[in-house]
């Protein structure tokens, strides 16, 4: 039974298509929008269109950006000889929040996943290779996710880079800071032992 009418139903449907938004949340969002001032609804609609239309890929690091090259690639204070390879822009933002990294990035936009039909050619790996060939690079840090796809992608890229005799590193695996050893899974515990380091005192 069509209680709400076409406009509301269509808005509920569109919200429902978004990831992580169930039927109830979609309804709540739709009624929230209808209850807001028209300017608020317009601000959201315009932000959606502007982001979808205005965002492009950085021609250097392939990150999503408003300006090309992106703010990080065009920042001459950063170390352009170190490139951290991440799966997507959110991972880049996560490392930026640490304020510990001053090198540049390269965004793959995914990880190799034969199950999901994602092969090396679907990622920005070609761009990484030509970037490494055309510029002076000291170190490539492979910071893909610590899961099966991410590990496979890191392994694949490290093999491609081997002939170039670069310093290729992988981010450390180990127990997360603030965690409780009791609840850490076996593989992570094994990795934390394998990757143990001398205490410098």
């Amino acid at each position: 039974m069509n209680v709400y009418g076409e406009h509301i139903n269509r808005l509920i449907e569109e919200f429902h298509k978004l990831p992580g938004i169930g039927g109830k949340s979609a309804q709540r969002l739709a009624f929230y929008i209808i209850g807001q001032k028209e300017e608020r609804a317009e601000a959201l609609a315009n932000a959606i269109l502007a982001a979808r239309r205005g965002v492009k890929y950085c021609s250097v690091c392939c990150a999503l950006t408003d300006v090309d090259p992106c703010a990080i690639c065009s920042n001459t204070k950063r170390d352009s000889r170190t490139i951290m390879v991440v799966e997507d822009s959110r991972d880049m933002a996560a490392y930026e929040r640490t304020n510990e990294y001053i090198g540049n990035y390269h965004v793959l936009h995914g990880a190799i996943s034969p199950m999901n039909g994602v092969g090396p050619n679907d990622l920005r790996i070609k761009e990484l290779l030509s970037r490494v060939n055309d510029n002076e690079v000291d170190e490539i840090i492979l910071a893909t996710n610590p899961n099966v796809e991410g590990e496979a992608t890191a392994m694949y890229i490290s093999r491609l880079l081997k002939p170039l005799e670069l310093n290729v590193t992988r981010i450390a695996h180990g127990v997360p800071v603030g965690g409780d050893l009791e609840f850490v899974d076996d593989i992570t515990l094994a990795r934390s032992l394998e990757g143990r380091r001398p205490i410098l005192s």
Copy 2:
């Protein structure tokens, strides 16, 4: 540090303003939109604008609707002499899903809540009274929420309707179907006892 650029940040902010959408969800939604075809982003943006601009209040029952009077009020097969008073359109949709109710509705758009500055004049109570005065009505079912605000609103309306000598009822309180008595709160248990009915066998 502005990693994402203005367009993406603005979209994340706009999503973050929606109820129940936290920072991480807002990011995920923004990147999902950017990764979709432009038509999909346009469909969402247009649905938001169309719903906000095209939806109006039914002149009979005050429900949100595309056409006035709404589909329920203009359905002559329904019993217009019974009016169920609900807080919002979602409650109406919930009762419609039961397929048990064939009367009409009246949507208050809220409940009396002095804490939130919502008084009787902010609700569609005037409209209910003139509707009851101008039409033949047999029964008013007060189906506001079973919480403090909803009970206060039901009480307020029932007092207003008293002089009209109508049949004014309140939906039953009791144990929910499929529930486990052990986990039902004390007040609900007390209400279930108070409202006990003879078994017709």
